[in-house]
């Protein structure tokens, strides 16, 4: 199983190097992500698998395609020689292999990584945090601050895209004119599917404590629902429902919610993000805290993902002008 997966991964990677049709390469990348996700599953990393699938195969691929629409599908044959890159790569690779020579074998339960910090998470978290999904516990509580940082990264990406591409506001949209043409079947399918997608998203959002999932995955799914709608029912319809300016603020609110929890506990005399300030009962305090921060993450991810999509698709209609605006 593993071997097969790895083999397929290698094939995909090599193909990605060789093929010049960027559209194909992007597709290959999507496949690659799926394979990785599967591989993660086989390594018991269910949350990661979920995310990788949603992000790698989902968002990233969509963005790349949106970009290709503008930048053209085929890559020119590169002139410059590949020897220096080859040397660099082989040196780096050699260094990595050298590094693995003393590495603990795959799956060795006595490896240092399994011995030192993680046992606490595995043994204590069900009691301390009171939720079965250890990944969520670590993500949202033990290392909740990292996740706050992560949320800010997302927020920053949103700002970045707004700054770099600007974003079409709800005014200038073309209801009905769809990106992939008018196809009744699709419309019906999507109409039927959409509610389930959104419901599933909510489920993932709330279920994060018990199974795979959490704010991040939920946000992406929720957003993809809208994206699907936008793709099928014509550019801009989604913008009418959630105007970009509103999204911007929504994203900000999401981050603020997360940081706010931290500040709340801080001003109640506890350390930043110490959930025990939220309730007298330690486990329920953890529950509340995790719920709130996951919600914050979900909101931010949703709105940023959608913003980015809008920005890219909005850009797609703009024909490349050659005349330049005089200096400001």
């Amino acid at each position: 199983m593993d071997i097969a997966l790895l083999a397929m991964l290698c094939v995909t990677a090599i193909a990605a190097i060789r093929i010049r049709d960027l559209f194909a390469v992007t597709m290959l990348f999507g496949i690659y992500s799926f394979l990785t996700a599967t591989f993660f599953l086989s390594l018991d990393a269910i949350d990661v698998a979920f995310t990788e699938a949603a992000v790698g195969a989902g968002i990233t691929t969509v963005l790349m395609l949106a970009t290709l629409r503008l930048t053209g599908r085929y890559e020119r044959k590169p002139k410059h020689n590949i020897f220096i890159p080859l040397i660099v790569v082989s040196i780096t690779g050699a260094a990595l292999v050298y590094g693995t020579l003393d590495a603990p074998l795959l799956g060795d339960p006595n490896a240092p990584a399994q011995q030192h910090v993680s046992p606490r998470y595995i043994e204590e978290s069900p009691k301390e945090i009171g939720i079965p999904n250890m990944v969520t516990s670590v993500l949202a509580s033990y290392r909740g601050y990292d996740t706050l940082g992560e949320t800010f990264v997302i927020f920053c990406a949103g700002l970045a895209v707004i700054i770099i591409l600007g974003i079409q506001d709800s005014g200038e949209v073309h209801p009905g004119r769809s990106a992939i043409g008018d196809q009744l079947v699709l419309r019906v399918v999507v109409k039927v599917l959409l509610p389930f997608i959104l419901l599933f998203a909510l489920y993932v959002q709330l279920h994060g404590d018990y199974g795979a999932g959490g704010g991040f995955q939920a946000g992406i799914i929720f957003a993809s629902g809208f994206i699907l709608y936008d793709l099928v029912f014509g550019e801009g319809d989604a913008r009418l429902i959630v105007p970009p300016n509103f999204l911007k603020r929504l994203a900000a609110l999401g981050v603020l919610l997360y940081a706010g929890v931290g500040l709340y506990s801080l001003f109640n005399g506890k350390a930043f993000l110490d959930y025990s300030a939220l309730s007298d009962n330690p486990t329920s305090a953890q529950h509340i805290g995790i719920f709130l921060v996951e919600l914050g993450v979900g909101i931010t991810v949703f709105s940023v993902a959608l913003t980015i999509f809008f920005a890219f698709s909005g850009r797609a209609q703009i024909t490349v002008k050659t005349d330049r605006r005089p200096p400001l």
Binding site: H116, R143, A160, G262
Partner: protein, 496 residues
């Protein structure tokens, strides 16, 4: 716990939170005020922290109330606080400066997100300097990086876009290397907490995984540090970014990279392993020397002053890495001193150029015509900053040079002393190129600008001159810089 106990997190989180607030209020003026307030708050906070640390040693703050190594720890020692002081002070000045410069250089509907992103960059960099957890450090590194790519891409000249992209690719490669390095360390120790690592690593120094991890961390950081030959992203990035951004990044970003280097080499790993067991000292000296000479030479031939200064920055980083490579207390100390002083010089110079761009519309030699008459204060600032860059006695630059040369003599490497001085000679040439262009009377034929006095607004002059005066002050009274740097070096070389 009183608010003061929370300062370590507050000085990071306040600028961080200010960013989404800017977006919520969605008004240029408010964003500016918010940013300014946040930066000044952090500045005051770091001053308070400095006093606590000098009085009662390093501070540890466990986030989420989870004890390290299970939770994330914030840890402040002298080195961190030096960097934080630098960052927050420069950030405050730059934001103060930004008001008009931004209005002119950045389109109206981008100003709000601009300030938000700038705040994220500031917070990200501060977060790096304060974090006691290697992965948390990585996260904040990414916040600051993504913010910086964006800020650079805002430059008016379209080359800014290409520069930003280059930086993005290089930076991400560097980050991934760092990630791999951290992975290797984790693989063998099972921990991410710096102190915990520093306790567990020594027994593993012969382990090949650890050594590989060390290599990847170093290379990754050196990419961010723009150490020759990994510097190619820097010149255009600094040259074509908006003035404010160039000033801020030039003064702080690479310095934080140096901080990361020191932190990993001397705290996570230890002095003997990093600079004696591993051949890093030789490498740093070699690359540093090449950087000094080559970049200074390139700088001489630039017509765009921002680009000129960017190359000089690479040279200065050469000095710093060279001093680290000397592998002595004095060397480390002089590296820290120069890190501090160079930030002051470059901050002053880039801000001054920013003012020049604001008034004259460009920062190339041809724009310098009659600057002295037109903007005397700005010109004077550029001249003094330049002298400090050369290392003329009476300026901060001289102190750096003094200690670096002392360090290399102490290490018995007098050729390096000569090299450093030779670098200053090259500096004389490219600095004097600026000074001549500025002080030169406009010959009637090429007199482009009217010679009426037309000085930059006060919100620009104040930050510029604050930095210029700092340059002179720290050239005469080195109580703060030198003593702090030496103490920090002692701690680092001695261990956490």
């Amino acid at each position: 716990m009183s608010v003061v106990d929370h300062l370590p997190i507050l000085i990071i989180i306040i600028p961080l939170i200010a960013a989404p607030l800017c977006v919520l209020f969605d008004s240029a003026k408010v964003s500016w005020l918010l940013a300014l307030a946040a930066c000044i708050f952090s500045f005051i906070g770091s001053i308070k922290l400095l006093n606590t640390i000098t009085a009662s040693g390093p501070i540890s703050y466990s986030l989420g109330g989870w004890q390290p190594p299970w939770g994330i720890e914030y840890r402040l020692d002298l080195l961190s606080i030096i960097l934080l002081l630098l960052l927050t002070s420069i950030a405050s000045l730059v934001v103060l400066f930004a008001r008009y410069s931004v209005e002119q250089e950045i389109s109206k509907n981008r100003i709000v997100p601009f300030y938000a992103t700038l705040l994220l960059a500031i917070a990200g960099l501060s977060g790096i300097c304060i974090s006691g957890d290697v992965f948390n450090l990585f996260v904040f590194l990414e916040i600051s990086s993504i913010a910086s790519y964006t800020l650079i891409s805002l430059g008016k000249d379209r080359r800014a876009l290409n520069a930003a992209f280059k930086y993005l690719v290089m930076g991400t490669i560097g980050a991934t290397f760092i990630l791999i390095g951290i992975g290797f360390l984790y693989m063998q120790t099972g921990t991410l907490n710096m102190q915990d690592l520093s306790e567990r690593l020594p027994s593993l120094y012969d382990n090949r995984t650890i050594r590989a991890g060390f290599a990847f961390l170093t290379v990754g950081i050196c990419l961010k540090l723009a150490l020759f030959p990994l510097h190619l992203w820097l010149p255009n990035a600094y040259a074509y970014a908006p003035s404010v951004v160039s000033a801020f990044l030039a003064a702080t970003a690479t310095k934080v990279a140096v901080y990361m280097l020191l932190r990993f080499l001397l705290t996570v790993f230890d002095f003997n392993f990093s600079l004696n067991t591993m051949p890093l000292d030789v490498i740093l000296i070699a690359l540093g020397s090449v950087a000094i000479v080559s970049s200074s030479l390139v700088a001489i031939f630039q017509v765009n002053l921002k680009r000129l200064l960017a190359y000089s920055s690479i040279a200065q980083l050469g000095y710093i890495s060279l001093s680290i490579g000397l592998a002595s207390k004095l060397g480390i100390a002089s590296a820290i001193i120069h890190l501090f002083n160079h930030a002051l010089m470059k901050g002053a110079l880039f801000l001054a150029l920013g003012a020049m761009i604001y008034k004259v519309g460009g920062a190339e030699l041809k724009h310098c015509q009659g600057m002295l008459k037109r903007m005397p204060l700005t010109s004077l600032a550029i001249i003094i900053g330049g002298l400090s860059l050369i290392g003329i006695p009476g300026t901060a630059g001289f102190i750096s040079k003094w200690y670096m040369i002392n360090a290399s003599l102490e290490a018995g490497l007098w050729p390096l002393a000569l090299l450093i001085l030779f670098g200053s000679l090259l500096a004389i040439i490219y600095v004097w190129k600026m000074v001549e262009a500025i002080t030169l009377q406009p010959s009637t034929s090429t007199a482009t600008a009217p010679l009426t006095r037309d000085e930059a607004p006060l919100t620009m002059l104040v930050p510029i001159w604050a930095l210029v005066i700092a340059n002179i002050y720290y050239g005469i009274n080195t109580e703060l810089t030198v003593s702090l740097a030496q103490r920090a070096a002692n701690i680092l070389v001695g261990g956490y």
